[in-house]
Amino acid sequence: MRVLRSFLRFVSGSARIVLRGNSLYWSWIALLVTLIFVGARAYAHQLSTGLLATSMRDQVSWAFYIGNFTFLVGVAAAAVLLVIPAYVYEWKPIKEVVILGELLAISAIVMAALFVLVDVGRPDRLWHLIPGLGLLNVPASMLAWDVVVLNGYLVLNVVIVTWLLFTLVRGRHPAKAIFTPLVLFSIPAAIGIHTVTAFIYSGLSARPFWHSAILAPRFIASAFCSGPAVLLVLMQLLRKYTRFEIQDLAIWKVAELMAYSMGFNLFLFGAEVFTEYYAHTEHLVHMRYMFTGVEGHTEIVPFMWASFGCSVVAFVLFLIPRTRRHWVTLNLGCLLIYSGVYLEKGMGLVIPGLTPDTLGEIYEYGPSRGEWQVAIGIFAIGFLLFTLMVKVATPIMLGEFRVGARVASDAAPRPAGAH
């Protein structure tokens, strides 16, 4: 009963925290809510018209939405992988930011799930995926497995985060015997979700561009680069605007890990390029579509080269300690690495895999206006969720928000300049 009462106070205290903020905060919220409305309106149109409102057609039947889904699963996986240095190597400077990684993972999974929701032709039938109620085709279907692992991962993260925050908010520390194994379990879980997502693609013999053993390692490598980029920016913002203390060393270490990860990603990419171009079989056409265009179809070529350029520059910026430690180049690197991987996982994976199609036809896909709007709406939902969670988590982590028999449940007043 006391726990329930504390929990209710935790919830009401959190509500009070998110409803309190300065004009910058509220402008941000207002922007996100507006974008959510834009997305919702576009999705309503898509629901009534059908997916014809997108630019997807039979020839390119997966595109922007699924590309975003894939990218976001990577972000979710990588965010949690900060756990490795913190817990496996007992690296203290990173420990306090693990929870931020988990919050990012939750937001990313929610966004990924929303992208699947808007992509399916019959969202009213998604209950068919629930084993027992519906029919989940395991072990054969990789997509079915992805449903299992992504939901499991979401639950895992929500449980860890809720439990951690609820424990901290009551002024206690989570029992290591339970907490540490849970957190450690999230490491293989994170690798698992992105590997299963990769298997959805690499298991398809019909699509030679995807049907490669290297796809799963590439997914992990590129995920490691993209997810932490968001966290790096966030950590800098947090320590500037709150009393959160994050050592430079933590930030630089993460950036260094990202550099190695990008290096490995580029190596795997190079291996793919060699394999295709050297033997130049029929399957080369997909890579040619990316980098030089095929039969005059060159729409995605500039984006692919941009992606490659961003990735290489970011790699260099993160590799060289001086540029890694300089705040301008560090943040530039974050932006570049995020953009590079975003383009690679979205356009650079889904579209060339389906273009030309299995019978050699080329349909040049580009997202429709409706798709852009829905995607922006979903990202806004994710950002909003992340903002609200971080807004609650930060004072808890800093000890400023406590509930209990004796302690008031309101957050302490913020220093000037903070949200």
């Binding site: 032709g121 019959r122 997509l143 398809l204």
Partner: protein, 319 residues
């Protein structure tokens, strides 16, 4: 909560033992009482109405989990609904696979002239959407000197006359693979291979994720990107639940070997309409069937053999 004692929705009759608090006072309904009573009402309504709900399309279970009676009821309702919609008597059957039958198809590449009459006959026979136009069969025009080369194939050829010199024609539709990648990839089990080999889709179970379309090596599947439109005058009223009944928006469809015809013993529409007799269909288990003759006497091959999908659709050269 008027005291009316009719039916299962009589909330006052619902036992709220343990919910009511003694001394709650006459005429007042405490918050707890109300919540408990509502829960009771909902429970009663659900159990009473449950049988009704499971037959609406939204709650319908997977076809293979439905009983014979439920299926019969669904077909009757569907037939009635479609008859009203199209203004002509429509029957929806669900003929099962015949025991001992293994269908196969053989297409004579030396004969196909690329006239596309099979494409159009299929559209009419199977009630494919006209706007946007869905065509299950795709005829690829290829160069004789390049051979079977999908990269240089052209399904959009327009000509005054076919065959055009230097070209040959290859129609492609669902290959009804024995080891179908689409069946493997479907997360809800909405598509499967029947005992006679036809790969079917339960249009009321498909969630429209299009994993099967990514998985199909032959580009055989079509998605209903919007509500398909078939003019009432053109509707083929002999329908099969897993075949040519009109599909809803947001689900995948494809060639079904004209399941409504072949399970009644007839040839598929494409076989009958082909003016040059390039298409052959039959039961592989019958030693006297045309398809057995083709497999035993002609040079046959399958598309994308290296993928080991083991299609039931064979191509051969009659000359």
């Amino acid at each position: 909560m008027s005291g009316d004692t009719r039916g299962a929705l009589d909330c006052e009759a619902v036992d709220t033992t343990g919910c009511g608090r003694p001394g709650a006072g006459e005429g007042t309904v405490s918050r707890r009482d109300f919540l408990c009573a509502m829960a009771g009402c909902i429970a009663a309504a659900t159990t009473a109405g449950c049988g009704e709900f499971t037959h609406t399309p939204f709650f319908r279970k997977h076809l293979r989990e439905l009983s014979k009676e439920e299926i019969a009821r669904i077909l009757a309702e569907l037939g009635k609904e479609l008859s009203e919609q199209y203004g002509k008597p429509v029957t929806v059957g669900i003929d099962a696979a015949r025991p001992g039958v293994q269908f196969a198809y053989a297409l004579d590449l030396s004969r196909c002239v690329g006239c596309r009459r099979c494409v159009k006959a299929c559209v009419k026979e199977n009630n494919q959407g006209r706007d946007p136009a869905i065509e299950w069969i795709r005829v690829l025009e290829m160069d004789k000197d390049k051979g079977i080369d999908f990269e240089h194939a052209n399904p959009y050829y327009e000509a005054e006359q076919v065959p055009r010199p230097g070209h040959f024609y290859m129609p492609v539709a669902c290959q009804h693979c024995r080891d179908a990648p689409c069946v493997k990839s479907c997360p809800t089990g909405a598509t499967w291979a029947e005992k006679d080999g036809i790969v079917v889709i339960d249009y009321d179970w498909c969630i429209g994720c299009r994993c099967c379309m990514a998985a199909c090596p032959y580009g055989a599947r079509r998605f209903n990107w919007t509500e398909p439109k078939v003019p009432a005058a053109d509707v083929n009223p002999q329908m099969h639940y897993l075949g040519n009944r009109p599909r809803p928006k947001g689900v995948v469809e494809k060639c079904t070997f004209c399941v409504h015809r072949v399970r009644a013993g007839r040839y598929p529409a494409c076989v009958e309409v082909c003016p040059v007799g390039a298409r052959k269909f039959g039961n592989l288990n019958d030693p006297n069937s045309e398809v057995r003759y083709v497999l035993e006497n002609k040079r046959v091959f399958v598309l994308k053999n290296e993928l080991s999908t083991r299609p039931r659709f064979y191509y051969f050269y009659g000359i």
